[in-house]
Symmetry: C2
Subunit: 231 residues, 2 copies
């Protein structure tokens, strides 16, 4: 469960610094973002907040942006981590209904939402590209839902790590996955507490399935076993 939707382009991957991945939807790159402006965001800085007018659409260039919903009592659900090549801010509503917050220093490209939508109204291939991008997001959201709705803590975490592993083929070392986010971000994604995430990672280490360096770098020692544990 929780397999990241494998609809990515084969191998045109240009390697970015840091936590880069094969971009999700670029094909001929004719998505209008060539003319977008670059914006840098610090770790923990918000790109936009729930309730903000949806003025821009963004394409991640570097780093990771967490989309999340904050509940009135402080609980938080992370909806998705957006990696380089992913879009955020697509949608049909006038205002954002989620927060977008960098989990680490990031670079994003900005395009006015109106410009994109006007272009899409005239260009069926662009509109279709948006359709496909959102469809990919939908797959990811549903995979996560299955994981969170049915999985144990171990299954959720194993799925999460495998998902990252598939996404980030960037690294020189194939079996090392970066975790460019805090434990709390992972916990809020998986519907767990940081303590449970930590305990489960510890368990995976004691099972010799993974090894963890500096808390942020995970080496997968036994991928088959990890897949079993993912359910």
């Amino acid at each position: 469960m929780f397999s990241a939707p494998q609809v990515r382009e084969p191998a045109s991957s240009k390697s970015y610094k840091g936590t880069s991945v094969v971009p999700a939807y670029r094909e001929s790159q004719n998505d209008g973002f060539e003319r977008g402006t670059i914006r840098r965001v610090e770790a923990k800085e918000h790109v936009f907040c729930e309730g903000d007018p949806r003025t821009h659409v963004f394409r991640i260039e570097e780093g990771v942006i967490a989309l999340s919903k904050l509940l009135s009592d402080g609980r938080r659900q992370v909806i998705d981590f957006a990696y380089p090549g992913d879009y955020i801010g697509l949608g049909i509503l006038n205002d954002h209904i989620f927060d977008a917050q960098a989990t680490c220093a990031a670079k994003i490209r900005c395009l006015p939402a109106s410009a994109l939508e006007q272009a899409a109204a005239l260009d069926a291939s662009l509109a279709l590209k948006l359709y496909k991008a959102v469809s990919a997001e939908l797959l990811a959201a549903r995979s996560l839902l299955v994981s969170v709705g049915q999985g144990t803590a171990m299954e959720r975490l194993a799925s999460f790590l495998l998902g990252l592993h598939h996404r980030s083929m960037d690294n020189s070392d194939v079996d090392v996955v970066n975790l460019p986010m805090r434990r709390s971000d992972i916990a809020d994604l998986l519907g767990l507490t940081i303590e449970t995430v930590s305990r489960t990672i510890t368990k995976l280490r004691s099972l010799r399935v993974i090894d963890v360096v500096h808390g942020t770098e995970v080496r997968i020692l036994d991928c088959d076993r990890l897949e079993e544990l993912a359910g």
Copy 2:
């Protein structure tokens, strides 16, 4: 939390028999489905299964279709309930990755996926319509994720009932919501067991927040209280 995406058309609602709702995306109804064939499905019958080739796209005309993922060990996650006006089978993959199963007798309109996609490649407004339909699905999936990831059993069920309440303005009686699905469907949607769903409904009854007739008809007695309970 778990508010159904409110992007529906104002009031062109033609009332269907049974569990009907205001259709999700019909605008001028130019979605190509006018020429689609009607298919009847019995309660519990599958419209398609995981792994089937994605030959058709469907628009619900009557009844409710549950989209779900079945895990190898029998656990099941319901992803969404599709109501009249909703589409199922949209997406970018060649095969279905979910089961679609009627929760009650239903009527659906079928259109070959290739036809729809060819039409969308030429007609930007149709492509944009697909984009918006999938965006609405994405909102629903994410709302559910928040509910399942962060909510208690009571919060999940209250959100679910409120979501249905908003969707099904069809009924003559505004405060009665139909539950045209089994407890197990609700449980699998909310990531709970049937026992917990049942107990929680009982609790809502004893709190005088709802009243239940024949197990399938819910009268909302105290909507404000229900919203509080939804978190």
